[in-house]
Symmetry: C3
Subunit: 239 residues, 3 copies
Amino acid sequence: MLQQLFNPSVQHTLDLIGIFVFAISGALLAVRKNFDVFGIAVLAEVTALGGGLFRDLVIGAVPPAAFTDLGYFLTPLVAALLVFFLHPQVERIQTGVNVFDAAGLGLFCVSGTTKAYEYGLGLTASAALGLATAVGGGVLRDVLANEVPSLLRWDRDLYAVPAMVGAALVVLCIRYDALTPLTSALAAATAFALRLLAMRFHWRAPRAWNRRSSATEAEGRGERREEGREDGRAHKATA
Amino acid sequence: MLQQLFNPSVQHTLDLIGIFVFAISGALLAVRKNFDVFGIAVLAEVTALGGGLFRDLVIGAVPPAAFTDLGYFLTPLVAALLVFFLHPQVERIQTGVNVFDAAGLGLFCVSGTTKAYEYGLGLTASAALGLATAVGGGVLRDVLANEVPSLLRWDRDLYAVPAMVGAALVVLCIRYDALTPLTSALAAATAFALRLLAMRFHWRAPRAWNRRSSATEAEGRGERREEGREDGRAHKATA
Amino acid sequence: MLQQLFNPSVQHTLDLIGIFVFAISGALLAVRKNFDVFGIAVLAEVTALGGGLFRDLVIGAVPPAAFTDLGYFLTPLVAALLVFFLHPQVERIQTGVNVFDAAGLGLFCVSGTTKAYEYGLGLTASAALGLATAVGGGVLRDVLANEVPSLLRWDRDLYAVPAMVGAALVVLCIRYDALTPLTSALAAATAFALRLLAMRFHWRAPRAWNRRSSATEAEGRGERREEGREDGRAHKATA
């Protein structure tokens, strides 16, 4: 049967790793936004568990794993504490964090797609929900931090595409009855590798054709204004 | 019984039309916010399916139609592609889009109210959920775009009221056992017409009494600042 | 059994009081953000019912109480009307509102934790969901108003901690089989008192260690910019 892609304990460990690295990214944003220790913990939890929570609500798997597995709940708190005390060091190893985050992306798009199919969704819907599982937490993180979700911004390296490819590979395997721990691992690895390449070579997605430059630059200002420090300069500039 | 307001295939077509026009409005905002092609697709999906998704989660209709009906999922992608390639033309026919959006508003408040009642909600709750179905997608769209939901802003033409009237008419029909395809169509048409009139004559809702002007103008600035282009001017102004 | 902490009608009254005061806080923010009368009503509903709605979706209690109990739905509308006509007076008694809000916080963290346990969640998960029930509405309120949730901001008096303590006391009572109307009331009263003390003495939570001052002040600007009036000044300053 599908559910157990890997030896259960192996899969659980992989899940916890993905949760942990997503939590780190949430906690780091909380520090940049100058939140207090509870804000850091909340943003860590939301970033790490939001995607899976949405998936479980959609497929009717209630109560969601986020509220039934104590490890899922406690792991983000550990990440939040680490960032609270060590965030300068953690930021210095930002690259490392990004690599782990890419790993989490790969793992979540595969496990999310598989679980969605397990619960009776069609192939396309399963892939879409797997994608939502992988990127949902990050979107919630940015919304709570009152920023434009980096998932949507043109000036960010490709993030959704690697997860889409991973989810698509999983449904292809299901379609052709070839979903095994091995093929699942390959799908996750492919998403992981694509995300790494996107970061390495700054792959970006195109914006709509024929944008009027006016809109572009104005919006450019708009985006600058969203980050506190940049804004400091902006204000000096206008003074 | 209630569910089939119209011949099923007719109703499905009406749903797809509503989804399509809502998706257009989401995709257009994504272009204005300078999102990339995936951001455009995501905002189109969220705007078109968000309201119905919320409704289905509330009434426990899982998995939600958004994930079981392939047409519901693919239609927004088509809208996103259209906007991606043709958005200047699409914006030029903005009026046409607004008319379709008004049609979607009328259709969704009726079908949302009916489905909520089907699933056992009371009359008032059904109307409330029908309203949420009609306006929910637009609110999610604005939240993801990091803007104040236009639904809530005083400087926008009435949007919620037409949907409220449509939903209220449906529950009245249910209450008096008069819900037929015809009366349902009339309720949708009423909401549609009211929205058109609100846009034509710029009907607005009152703000709280005795606002201190200070708050008003300051907030006014605040709202101006939310749109990139306007903001460009604002900065020049202060320079 | 757990559910009935108090005589049902007593508990229902307490719920309505909590809903009412949360709705007041939502409506007041809507007035400050210059929303129209419908925006005020929407923000009142979301603030008052959002936390419980999230809890009910997570535990699978659908349709949620917010859509089955007419009183839950109508109470926020009454609060919205009051604020619409009397908001200067309501703001003058802001302290009173804060006291009621603290009471709502205490009541909701207790009833939320109890209901979560009733539906089979573990003790930790029940406490977490009780906390989410108590603070969720306020977070949704701030997100819809396009502001950084005050729950997360370091420059706000402690809000989550009192609710955490209340929820923790409830699970301790459950763990040691001591959950009675009396102990439940004591837990709610403790959360209530802690919140009052936090407001009275401006207790704040620490931010991450070793923040670089640059980030701090820049973010400080960022936060100032979020409030319309302040911003007015800011602009004059730069002119």
